[in-house]
Symmetry: C2
Subunit: 401 residues, 2 copies
C-alpha cells in the first residue's frame, strides 16, 4: 500500500529529544547502557543487517561459531567474566529468562521468585506457561526481601504439586528500590534443594562485579542495553556446564516428508539470535566494562553522597535499603509534591526546573516519588545535580537542613 509522503516525512531526520552530550541524564534504566566510544565506532562499521555474518561457518551456520568478528571468543570471555561456563547473547534479558524457564520447566510447573522482580520475569514465566510463587518483602520503607523464605516457598510448591519448582529466580538488584540482594543465601538454598537458581543481573552484571560461581548461581541473565554499554536489544544468558544439555538443547523437530532435521541449531535461541549492532556494541564495550566494574566502589560513594545531601531537603527521603549499595535510587519526595499542588504546571514543574538546568531523566509529571541513577556520572556532575535540587527546593521555599 502507498503511504502519503507527509506521513513518511516523520521518519526523516529522527532525533532524540535532547543531545546526550549537553545534558545530565539521570534516567534510572539508561545510565549503564550509554555507548562507549569504541561501541560508537563499531555500530557504524557493523550497522548493516547481516554484517557480523560475513564469515559464518557454512556447515554449522551458527552465530556462536563465528570467529571474525570474534563472536565465539567473546562468548567465552563473557562466560568467564561472569564466573560461569557458557554464555550466549540473546535478544533481551527477558528472553534469557524465558529460555531458561521454557527449557527447565513444563507447563504448570512453578518458579519461585522474589516479589520485587521485574514484570518481565513474570511474563517470561507466563509465556513458558509456568506459575509463580513469590518470596515476600518487608514492605516500606526498606522493601527488604526475606531471602530465607525461598526455602519455605520450595516446600510449599512440594506440598501442593508433589514436586520441586522448575527454578528459583532472584533479582540481584531490583528495578524499584535498587536493593542489592545477597545472592549467596539463595544460592545455598538452591543447592540444598537441587533446584537451579537464575540470578537476574539486569542491573548488576556489567556495572558491578558479579561472580556466579561464588554466589551459587546456576544461570545468570543480564541486559546489555541496561548495564553493558550496548545498544538495544541485547540480553545475556550465562550458565553452568551442567545445564548445557537442558538449556542449549538442540532442535529435535523433523520434517514429516523431507526428513529435514536441524540438530546443529539451539532450540531456545531459535538458531541465531542477536547479530548486528547490539551484539557488536556489547563486544566493543567489553574491555571498558571489564575495567569499569572495578570502579564500582566509587560509584556507590557518589550515590551515597547524593542521597545524604538530598535528604537534607525537607520532605525528601530515600526508599529501599540503607545505606545504598547500588546507584539506582528511589526517593520519596513529599516536599516536591506539596509544591506541585499549587503550581500551574502541576507535577511537571520539577521536570521543567531540572530541564532548564540541563538535567533530564526524572520521569515527567512525577513528584511524590521518583527514581534516578547516578551510574557513571562524574563527581562534578553529581555535585551539580545536588546543587540543582537545592536551588529548586530553595526557590519554592522548601527548608534545607
Amino acid at each position: 500500500m502507498k503511504i502519503p509522503q507527509d506521513r513518511l516525512n516523520r521518519y526523516i531526520g529522527l532525533k532524540r529529544d535532547f543531545a546526550e552530550e549537553e545534558y545530565i541524564n539521570l534516567q534510572p534504566i539508561q545510565r549503564g547502557g550509554i555507548l562507549t566510544e569504541e561501541a560508537r565506532r563499531a555500530i557504524l562499521e557493523f550497522g548493516d543487517g547481516y554484517s557480523t555474518c560475513d564469515w559464518c561457518p557454512p556447515k554449522t551456520a551458527r552465530l556462536d561459531m563465528i570467529t571474525d568478528p570474534p563472536i565465539q571468543q567473546f562468548y567465552q570471555d563473557l562466560a568467564e567474566f561472569l564466573g560461569m561456563d557458557i554464555a550466549r547473547v540473546v535478544t533481551r534479558c527477558r528472553e534469557a529468562k524465558f529460555i531458561a524457564f521454557r527449557m527447565l520447566g513444563r507447563p504448570g510447573d512453578y518458579v519461585v521468585l522474589d516479589s520485587t522482580a521485574h514484570y518481565s520475569s513474570y511474563l517470561a514465566a507466563d509465556l513458558a506457561e509456568l506459575k509463580v510463587k513469590e518470596v515476600p518483602n518487608g514492605g516500606a520503607p526498606e522493601f527488604r526481601l526475606n531471602l530465607d523464605a525461598y526455602a519455605e516457598k520450595i516446600e510449599e510448591v512440594k506440598r501442593e504439586t508433589g514436586k520441586l519448582p522448575a527454578a528459583l529466580l532472584l533479582t540481584h538488584v531490583d528495578y524499584l528500590y535498587g536493593n542489592l540482594n545477597e545472592a549467596k543465601v539463595v544460592g545455598k538454598i538452591a543447592k540444598d534443594y537441587g533446584v537451579p537458581l537464575i540470578l537476574n543481573c539486569a542491573y548488576t552484571a556489567g556495572v558491578m562485579p558479579v561472580d556466579g560461581r561464588e554466589v551459587g548461581a546456576d544461570i545468570i541473565t543480564s541486559s546489555g542495553h541496561k548495564s553493558w554499554a550496548a545498544s538495544a536489544p541485547t540480553g545475556i544468558l550465562a550458565l553452568e556446564k551442567s545445564l548445557e544439555e537442558k538449556l542449549l538443547a538442540r532442535a529435535k523437530i523433523e520434517g514429516d516428508l523431507t526428513k529435514r532435521k536441524f540438530g546443529q541449531k539451539e532450540l531456545g535461541m531459535l538458531g541465531c539470535t542477536v547479530m548486528g549492532a547490539p551484539l557488536i556494541t556489547l563486544m566493543a564495550s567489553f574491555p571498558e566494562v571489564v575495567r569499569r566494574v572495578e570502579r564500582w566502589g566509587e560509584e556507590v560513594e557518589k550515590v551515597r553522597y547524593l542521597v545524604t545531601e538530598l535528604e537534607k531537603i525537607e520532605g525528601i527521603t530515600q526508599r529501599g535499603m540503607k545505606p545504598k549499595m547500588h546507584t539506582l535510587t528511589h526517593m520519596e519526595t513529599d516536599g516536591f509534591y506539596k509544591v506541585s499542588e499549587t503550581h500551574k504546571r502541576k507535577g511537571y514543574f520539577l521536570y521543567d526546573e531540572l530541564r532548564a538546568r540541563k538535567i533530564v531523566g526524572i520521569q515527567p509529571g512525577l513528584t511524590k516519588h521518583f527514581k534516578f541513577n547516578t551510574y557513571g556520572l562524574t563527581w562534578e556532575q553529581v555535585k551539580y545535580v545536588k546543587d540543582a535540587f537545592f536551588e529548586i527546593a530553595g526557590k519554592y521555599g522548601m527548608k534545607i537542613s
Copy 2:
C-alpha cells in the same frame, strides 16, 4: 573474573573483513539489509541502549505507545504498507513466527508448512511444541511447491487428530532457490478451511510490493535486517484485526502473594521488544523502502539479465523456477567445480578470483553450486559481475557460448 588484556584487545577496533563501499557484495541474505544514509544517521543518534524510550508513557510503559520518536505512528504505517491492520516490530522474523505459533496453537497441534521453508520456521514450531506437516515440492530442477497440497495436508491433519492445524505457513520466497510462491492460492485454501495463514515474507516485504489483504494472509512475518535496510535483529509481525485478541493477548499471570498483574503487557512480546538501533534504522529507512518496492520490476530485469548471461558459461545453470521472479538466485556450477578439482586452492579458487575483482558474498569454498543476490546493484555493477564471471571462466578454459 579478570580477563587478560591481550584477550580484551581483540574487541578494540572491530572491523569488517571488507569495506562495503569498495566491494560488490552478492551475499544472498545481505543485499536487502544494507542501511540507507538516513538509517546510518539514526543509528548513531539512537545508539544508546534505551534512547528510544525517553518518552515512554508512564502508565502503559509500552514501546508501541511511544510517539517521540514516532514508534506508534510507525507501527500504523507499517501495517498499512503491508496491507494489514496491526503491526509489531519484534526481535527477529523467527520470533514473529514463534509468537504466532505459540499464541495460535497448543502443544501437539500441527502447522502445515512448505517443504522449502527456512529452518527457523521449523524451530519456531518446535519451540512452541507444535508438529509440522510439509507440503511437497517437485524437486530438481525447479523445486516448485505443490500449493494445492495445503488442502490435502489439512485433511490429513484432520484425519489424524480430529481437528484442524493451528496454522498454515507459506514461505513467500524461499531461501534456497528464490522461488516466488503464489500466496493467493494458499490464501484461498486458508479461508476455505478457516485456518490462519502466516505468510513468511522474510525475502519479499521491504524489497517488493506485498499486500497481505490481497493475497489472503492473516499474518505476515518479515525480517528487517534481510529486507528492510535495517540493522539486526529486527522482525516484523503484522496481522489482521480479527487475530488481535489471540496474537496480542495480554499477560494473565498474577503474583500469588502481591497480586501483581501486568494486564497492559502483551504476552507474546514479553512486554517490550526491539528498542534502539534495529527499530530506529527500520523507521529511518522506511521512506526509502516504500519507494524502492516500486522499483522491483527493474530489480527482476537485472537478475534475469545476469542469469541469462551466466548460463552462457559452460556447465552453469540456474536452479529453481524460471524465469526469475526474485533476485535471490541459486546456480548450479559444475563448470567451476571441475576447475576446482585440479586447482591448488580447491573450491576456494572462485572466492579468490572474485575477491581479487572486488566481488564478495559468494560462500568461500563452494563451487558445485552457490547463491547470490543482485538486489539493489546498479546495472553497471551487474554487468561488472557478469564480466568478472566471464573473465574467470575464460581464464580456466570454460567455454562461453
